[in-house]
C-alpha cells in the first residue's frame, strides 16, 4: 500500500516530521517529491500516533513545507542483487553511478540484514597471507575476521588497505574471491586512488564499489556500509565467493549518526555520539564471518581515522570492542620512515591463534611471535628510558634490546609497498633477528623450536656490541 501525503509540519536538520499519516511503519522507505521535480529518499525513524519522523538521506535543504509530497512505500530500503554487480560502481544508497544499466536483480534484499545465528557460525581459522610481515607474522589475519585499521589523518592507511587487497591470498587454494568497497565521505582523490589500484592489479572486475564522496549527502553514509555488506552477503553466501570488504572511513559514518542523534535531541553519550553507537557499529561489523556448510566468507577491514590520533576516542574505542583486533598505524614510525608504519605493540589480531601453527603457517609461529613481541616491547621500554636518562643509564641487556627494537622496525616491519613476502620469509626473518640474543633471553620459545630454527641459523652472534646508530626521532628527520 503506497501512501502519499503533503503534510510536512516540521523540518530540523536532516529530519522531517510528517503529520496526519496512518498505517506508517517503523523503518519504512520514504520518497520525497520536491516541486523542482527532484526525488529524495528517506526512512522512518519513529512513528508516534499519526506523526512520522523521517530522516532524509540527501538532507532537507530546499524541502518546501507546503509543497513537498511525501510517499511512504510500505517497505524497507532494499537493493537489487545479481552477479552483475561485480565490476560496477554504486552510490551510497546502492544506485548505479557509473552510467551503466540498472541491475536486473536475482533478488531484492533489505540492507539492514538479519543477525547471524551464533550457532550457524563457523570459526574463522584459515590463514590469509597478506604478504605484509607486521600483519602475517604478528597480527595474522584469517578468513572471516573483522580487522580494522586505526589510522590518523595523513597516514598511509589507504595504501596499506590497497596492498592487502592486492596481495591477500589463502595458500594452496584456487577460489573465487571478490572485493566490496564501501566509501563514506572520502575525497574524490582517495576514491580515484583505490579505483586505479584495483584496475592495475586486475581486481576491478571482481570489485563492487559503493561510493559516497566527501561532497555528497552526509546522511546517505548511514546506508552505505549496510548496502556494501548486503552485497557482500549475497556474493559470499549465495554465490560462494570469498569476499574482502573494505569500509572507509568509519569516522565519517559515525559523524552522520551523530548528526541524526543531535537532531533528534537524544541524550548524547561521549563526545556527542549517541549511546547506541556500539550497537549500531556492531550491527554492521558482525555481518562479517563464516557460516557452517557455506562456501563463501566475508572478511572485513574497516578503516577509521582517529580524531587527534586518540585511541580512546569513542569511534576507535567502540570499534575495538567489536572487532577481532586492530592494526594501528603510528605517526612516529611514519616519521622514522618505517613503511607501512604499523605499530605492532597495540595492534592485535585476536583470531591469529587458530589461524597459525602447524599445517597453517608453521609450527614455530606462535612461540616466535611471542618472543618477538616481548623483545620489541622491552626494546621500546629501553628506548623510553634512554630518552629520559640518556644512554649511560641503560644496562648491557637494555642496549641489546634497544638494538633489537630498531632492527625489528627497520627490517621486519618496514617493507616495500609492492613487496609481497611469503610467510616463510616472514618467519625466517624473525629468527634471524633473534640471533641477537643469548639463549637464556628466549624464554617464550620452547626448546625444540630453538634447536630447530634458532640454532640452525647459527647462533652466537649474541655478543653485545655498542650501538652506533641510534635511531632517535630527531636523527632520522
Amino acid at each position: 500500500m503506497i501512501k502519499d501525503y503533503q503534510t510536512v509540519t516540521e523540518i530540523a536538520g536532516p529530519l522531517m516530521l510528517v503529520s496526519g499519516v496512518s498505517g506508517v511503519k517503523y523503518q519504512e522507505l520514504v520518497e520525497i517529491y520536491l516541486p523542482s521535480g527532484e526525488i529524495r529518499q528517506g526512512q522512518v525513524l519513529e512513528v508516534d500516533e499519526d506523526r512520522a519522523l523521517v530522516q532524509v538521506f540527501q538532507g532537507t535543504a530546499g524541502i518546501d513545507i507546503p509543497q513537498s509530497k511525501i510517499r511512504f512505500l510500505s517497505k524497507g530500503i532494499t537493493i537489487p542483487l545479481s552477479k552483475e554487480i561485480l565490476g560496477r560502481v554504486f552510490d551510497g544508497l546502492g544506485r548505479p553511478r557509473d552510467g551503466g544499466p540498472a541491475i536486473i536483480p536475482d533478488l531484492w534484499q533489505d540492507i539492514n540484514g538479519a543477525p547471524i545465528n551464533p550457532y550457524a557460525r563457523e570459526y574463522p581459522d584459515e590463514f590469509i597471507q597478506t604478504g605484509i610481515s607486521a600483519i602475517d607474522g604478528l597480527n595474522t589475519l584469517v578468513r572471516g575476521q573483522k580487522l580494522p585499521i586505526f589510522s590518523g589523518s595523513g597516514l598511509p592507511h589507504n595504501r596499506v588497505a590497497a596492498q592487502v587487497v592486492r596481495q591477500a591470498k589463502v595458500l594452496g587454494k584456487e577460489e573465487t574471491f571478490a572485493v566490496v568497497f564501501g566509501a563514506m565521505g572520502i575525497t574524490f582523490e582517495e576514491a580515484e586512488f583505490f579505483q586505479k589500484d584495483f584496475s592495475t592489479s586486475g581486481a576491478l572486475a571482481r570489485t563492487v564499489l559503493f561510493l559516497n564522496l566527501a561532497d555528497e549527502p552526509a546522511i546517505e553514509r548511514i546506508a552505505t556500509p549496510r548496502a556494501a555488506l548486503t552485497a557482500a552477503e549475497y556474493l559470499a553466501y549465495e554465490c560462494g565467493m570469498h569476499v574482502l570488504v573494505v569500509l572507509t572511513d568509519m569516522t565519517n559514518y559515525c559523524e552522520a549518526l551523530r548528526e541524526i542523534s543531535a537532531a533528534r535531541k537524544e541524550i548524547p553519550g561521549r563526545r556527542g555520539y549517541p549511546g547506541y553507537l556500539y550497537t549500531d557499529l556492531a550491527s554492521n561489523y558482525e555481518r562479517c564471518g563464516r557460516i557452517k556448510d557455506k562456501n563463501g566468507s566475508i572478511t572485513l577491514m574497516p578503516i577509521l581515522t582517529m580524531p587527534e590520533d586518540d585511541k580512546t576516542h569513542p569511534i576507535p574505542d567502540l570499534t575495538g570492542y567489536i572487532t577481532e583486533g586492530q592494526i594501528i598505524l603510528s605517526r612516529s614510525l611514519q616519521r622514522k620512515k618505517v613503511s607501512p608504519p604499523i605499530d605492532v605493540l597495540p595492534s592485535l589480531s585476536r583470531l591469529k591463534d587458530k589461524g597459525i601453527g602447524k599445517g597453517k603457517t608453521r609450527e614455530d609461529h606462535s612461540d616466535l611471535f611471542n618472543q618477538l613481541f616481548a623483545g620489541y616491547a622491552r626494546g621500546k621500554e629501553a628506548e623510553e628510558l634512554q630518552v629520559i636518562l640518556g644512554e649511560a643509564a641503560l644496562s648491557e641487556m637494555d642496549r641489546l634490546y634497544l638494538k633489537f627494537a630498531n632492527e625489528f622496525e627497520q627490517k621486519y616491519v618496514s617493507q616495500g609497498e609492492y613487496e609481497d613476502r611469503s610467510i616463510q620469509q616472514t618467519l625466517d626473518l624473525g629468527w634471524e633477528l633473534l640471533q641477537l640474543f643469548p639463549r637464556v633471553e628466549l624464554k617464550r620459545v620452547r626448546d625444540e623450536y630453538l634447536e630447530k630454527y634458532w640454532t640452525k641459523q647459527g647462533q652466537g652472534k649474541s655478543k653485545i656490541e655498542p650501538i652506533e646508530n641510534k635511531t632517535t626521532e630527531e636523527k632520522t628527520e
Partner: protein
C-alpha cells in the same frame, strides 16, 4: 477472561507503546504485531503500556495489535538445559537454525526445553512421603557430569500420592502430590520468572575457594565459591580469555556462560572448543557441565538486557540442587548499555553518563543473587553461585559508572592493564591494583589442602613485586647503576615472578591450567632461588654472575612441566644449589 488486545500507538526502535493494555502487569510478556514478536511490559500508565521488544521492530507501526499473555518473562527449568545454547530469552539457537536457517528471523517461538526428548527419572522419595517446596523427589542423569535433581516447584507441599520411575518427557507427570485442598501433578519441568531471585533457606558465609587453574588469580586474588568478581579492562586486554579460562578450568560443577552483547565468533569458539577439552577431575568433556546464553552484539538489544537474568535464573536453579555453579557475564557493560538505550527511549531522567538512575541498584541486585546458600527442601543441602562479570569501560577508564557501581558490590577486582596486554603479559591482571577480599577466607583451606606456607609464599612474592615497583621508580629517576646488588637481586627475582609465574599462556596445552600444588611448587622454587642467591651474595658472589645463571632458564620453563611430573620442579633446587656454589668456589680460588 475474554481475549483482550491492545493497539500500538508508537514505535521507536526496540520500544513500542500500546493502548488498551489495562490488566497487564509490569514485566508481563506480550506479543507484538501480526508476527507476534516477543516483548515485555516495562512501564504502565493508565491503559498505556511501554513495551521493550526482543526482536527487530522494522515494519511495525501504529494500529498493529498487541496481545497480552498476563505471564511474566520466565525460563523453563528441567532436564535439557546442560549443553544448550540459548538466546537472551531462552530460545534454543540450535533449533532456531534447524527451523529457519542461518539468520535469526522474527516471530520465532520455540520452547527452552525439548518437549519430545525422554529422560530417565529415578524417584528418591516414595508414596506417603511428605514434601515441600524445594524437596528433591528424584533425579535425572543428564550428562556424565551432571545429574539433575527434580525438586518440588513453588506453591506445592503435601504428601506424595504416586511417584514412578521411567522415561518421561519434561511435560509428562512423574508424581502426584496431595496438598491441603487438591491433588497436583508434578512434572520435571518448572517455570520461574527471571527477574525474581529464587528463594533459599539461608545465605551462608562463603568459605571454600574456587580454584581456577590461573596462577595470578588463585595465588594472589582468589575467588571463593559463592563469591563475586569483576574484570574491567579496555578492549583487547583479555577479559574474554579470562572468562573462558574460568569456564574451562574453574572447579565448579556447573558453568553458565552469558555472551551479553559481544562477538558471535566467541560463542562459536566455546561451542567448538569445550566439547574437545576435558575436565581435569572427571576426564569428561567440559561442555557436559556448561549452559551457554548467546545474545551477541548484533542481536536485539532488549533481549540482551534480559539475557543476564535468564542466565542467573538458570544458575540459581542448579544452585538449588546443591551444585557449585559459576556464572560468567561477558560483558556487563553491554547489559548496562541496553538499559541505557531503553531508558533513553522511555525519556527517563538520565543519571551519570546517560545511564538510568537505577543502574547501580540493578547491578547490586544482580550480584546479590550470588552466594553460598542452604537450599530449600527437607535435606540440608548447600549450593553456591559465583558470579564473574566483565566490564568494558570506555577507553578503559575505571571512573566509568558501570565499573564504579560494580566495585561497590563485588569482592574481587581483577584489574586489566593495557600496558601489560601490549607487552603480551597475559593474563594482564595488574598485581598492584587488583584485590580479593577472600584471601583470608580461603587461607586455611590452602594451608590444609595445598601447602602449609602457601599463603606466606604468596605474601612474600607480593612483597617482592611491590618492592620492584618502588625500585622501578628509582631507576626511572636515576638509572639502574645506583642500585645496590641486593636490590638488583630483588629485581631479578621479581622479574622471574612476573615472567615465569604470573605470565600464563591460555593457548599453551600445559600452561593453560595449573593445579594449586603446581602453583605452590613453582612459587616455592622461585623463593628458594631468592633465599639461596641472597646467601651466596653474602658470601661474596657477584650479582651479574647470578643474573646469568643457566638455572634461570630452567626456572623459566617450569610452567611447561606436566602436572604428573611435578617432582621435576623440586629437582631444580639441586641445580640451583650446585650452580650457586660454583660461584663462591671461584671467588675463593681468586
Amino acid at each position: 477472561m475474554k481475549e483482550t488486545k491492545g493497539t500500538i500507538v508508537k514505535v521507536s526502535g526496540p520500544l513500542v507503546v500500546a493502548n488498551g493494555m489495562a490488566g497487564s502487569k509490569m514485566y508481563d510478556v506480550v506479543r507484538v504485531g501480526d508476527q507476534k514478536l516477543i516483548g515485555e511490559v516495562i512501564r504502565l500508565e493508565g491503559d498505556l503500556a511501554s513495551i521493550q521488544v526482543y526482536e527487530e521492530t522494522g515494519g511495525i507501526g501504529p494500529g498493529d495489535p498487541v496481545y497480552p499473555t498476563f505471564e511474566p518473562l520466565s525460563v523453563e527449568l528441567g532436564p535439557g538445559l546442560i549443553q544448550a545454547i540459548y538466546d537472551g530469552i531462552q530460545r534454543p539457537l540450535n533449533i532456531i537454525r534447524e527451523q529457519v536457517g542461518d539468520y535469526i528471523t522474527r516471530g520465532i517461538d520455540i520452547p527452552g526445553l525439548d518437549r519430545k526428548k525422554r529422560w530417565h527419572f529415578k524417584p528418591e522419595k516414595k508414596a506417603g512421603d511428605k514434601v515441600k517446596l524445594g524437596s528433591v523427589i528424584g533425579s535425572v542423569p543428564e550428562t556424565e557430569l551432571v545429574t539433575q535433581k527434580i525438586m518440588v516447584p513453588p506453591g506445592i507441599s503435601g504428601e506424595i500420592v504416586e511417584i514412578k520411575e521411567g522415561d518421561f518427557t519434561v511435560t509428562e507427570p512423574i508424581a502426584r502430590i496431595k496438598t491441603d485442598d487438591e491433588e497436583k501433578e508434578i512434572y520435571m519441568m518448572q517455570r520461574w520468572p527471571v527477574r525474581r531471585a529464587r528463594p533459599y533457606q539461608a545465605k551462608l558465609p562463603v568459605s571454600q575457594p574456587l580454584p581456577t587453574g590461573q596462577r595470578v588469580i588463585d595465588t594472589f586474588f582468589p575467588i571463593a565459591k559463592g563469591g563475586t568478581a569483576c574484570v574491567p579492562g579496555p578492549f583487547g586486554s583479555g577479559k574474554t580469555v579470562i572468562q573462558h579460562q574460568f569456564a574451562k578450568w574453574s572447579d565448579a560443577d556447573i558453568i553458565i556462560f552469558i555472551g551479553c552483547g559481544e562477538r558471535g565468533n566467541e560463542m562459536t569458539d566455546v561451542l567448538l572448543e569445550f566439547p574437545k577439552l576435558t575436565d581435569p577431575k572427571s576426564g569428561q568433556p567440559l561442555m557436559k557441565r556448561t549452559v551457554l546464553i548467546a545474545n551477541t552484539s548484533n542481536m536485539p538489544v532488549a533481549a540482551r538486557e534480559a539475557s543476564v537474568y535468564t542466565g542467573i535464573t538458570i544458575a540459581e536453579y542448579f544452585r538449588d540442587m546443591g551444585f557449585s555453579v559459576a556464572l560468567q557475564a561477558d560483558s556487563t557493560s553491554r547489559w548496562a548499555e541496553a538499559m541505557r538505550e531503553i531508558s533513553g527511549r522511555l525519556e527517563e531522567m538520565p543519571g551519570e553518563e546517560g545511564y538510568p538512575a537505577y543502574l547501580s541498584a540493578r547491578i547490586a541486585e544482580f550480584y546479590e543473587r550470588a552466594g553460598s546458600v542452604r537450599t530449600l527442601g527437607d535435606s540440608d543441602k548447600t549450593g553456591s553461585l559465583s558470579v564473574i562479570g566483565s566490564i568494558s569501560p570506555p577507553g578503559g577508564d575505571l571512573s566509568d559508572a558501570v565499573v564504579q557501581a560494580t566495585l561497590r558490590v563485588v569482592k574481587v577486582f581483577w584489574s586489566l592493564e593495557d600496558k601489560l596486554a601490549f607487552a603480551r603479559h597475559f593474563p594482564a591482571i595488574s598485581w598492584l591494583n587488583s584485590y580479593s577480599l577472600y584471601t583470608d577466607t580461603v587461607k586455611d583451606f590452602f594451608a590444609e589442602k595445598v601447602a602449609k606456607d602457601f599463603f606466606d609464599q604468596a605474601k612474600a612474592a607480593m612483597l617482592l613485586l611491590e618492592k620492584e615497583a618502588e625500585l622501578e621508580e628509582i631507576i626511572r629517576l636515576v638509572g639502574k647503576d645506583s642500585l645496590s646488588p641486593s636490590d638488583r637481586l630483588i629485581l631479578e627475582v621479581a622479574r622471574s615472578i612476573r615472567e615465569d609465574f604470573l605470565h600464563q599462556n591460555a593457548f599453551h596445552e600445559i600452561d593453560t591450567y595449573t593445579s594449586l600444588s603446581k602453583q605452590s611448587a613453582m612459587l616455592d622454587l622461585i623463593l628458594y632461588f631468592y633465599e639461596k642467591a641472597k646467601d651466596t651474595m653474602e658470601k661474596g658472589a657477584d650479582i651479574t654472575d647470578i643474573e646469568k645463571l643457566a638455572v634461570l632458564e630452567r626456572i623459566a620453563r617450569m610452567k611447561y612441566i606436566p602436572e604428573n611430573e611435578l617432582e621435576k620442579i623440586k629437582k631444580i633446587k639441586g641445580e640451583i644449589d650446585s650452580e650457586l656454589s660454583k660461584l663462591t668456589q671461584t671467588e675463593e680460588v681468586k
